[in-house]
């Protein structure tokens, strides 16, 4: 079954500390992975996608097919990174629906 797992509901780190938000997936086929973010009082929005291999706001994520993971990382957390982060997998079998994880709330402490 297709599934996205984010094991941490809440992650608290101090400003300047490294951050890693974990995401594991199960999918039979070649997956397409994304990270979406929801800042306080804002809409859910795309942060980054694995195919573009880009760094957005200092965040990167590498798709590891062997470990079926797509962890989100940032070397030095900022207070403005505090938000809800959702890992998502897009079903490429034809319907293109997104399957979301349950989300991780990141709190960056001053």
């Amino acid at each position: 079954a297709q599934r996205v797992t984010q094991p941490e509901k809440l992650l608290s780190v101090f400003k300047g500390a490294p951050v890693e938000l974990k995401c594991n997936y199960s999918y039979s086929g070649s997956p397409e992975l994304f990270w979406y973010v929801q800042y306080s009082r804002q809409r859910l929005q795309l942060l980054l996608r694995h195919i573009s291999r880009e760094s957005i706001k200092g965040f990167t994520a590498d798709l590891n097919k062997g470990e079926t993971s797509f962890h989100l990382k940032k070397p030095f957390a900022q207070e403005e990174d505090s938000a809800m982060y959702y890992c998502a997998l897009r079903d490429r079998s034809g319907t293109y629906k997104y399957i979301f994880g349950t989300g991780t709330r990141l709190k960056v402490l001053a």
Partner: protein, 113 residues
Amino acid sequence: GEEVAQTPKHLVRGEGQKAKLYCAPIKGHSYVFWYQQVLKNEFKFLISFQNENVFDETGMPKERFSAKCLPNSPCSLEIQATKLEDSAVYFCASSQLKGGELFFGEGSRLTVL
């Protein structure tokens, strides 16, 4: 419009009453998705449209839930005879292309008493 617009923001219904939610996708976006989020948990996929055609309805409960996207009208999600477990935030998202980036609305919070 430039953003996905969902109405109403909040809706309260007594058990057994009907609820109807609306979504105006971004102009030019052909794909519309509906998701249900219960108690800030995972987003459960309900249904997607390509223009006015149902694209994928595998997540829709067979009874009580229906959805439409008609030309020149907002898309709608209707729940007949609401139940307590229908209480959730319903999100609409649109994308320009099949497999394109999803743009989300702010969600409609349905509370069933």
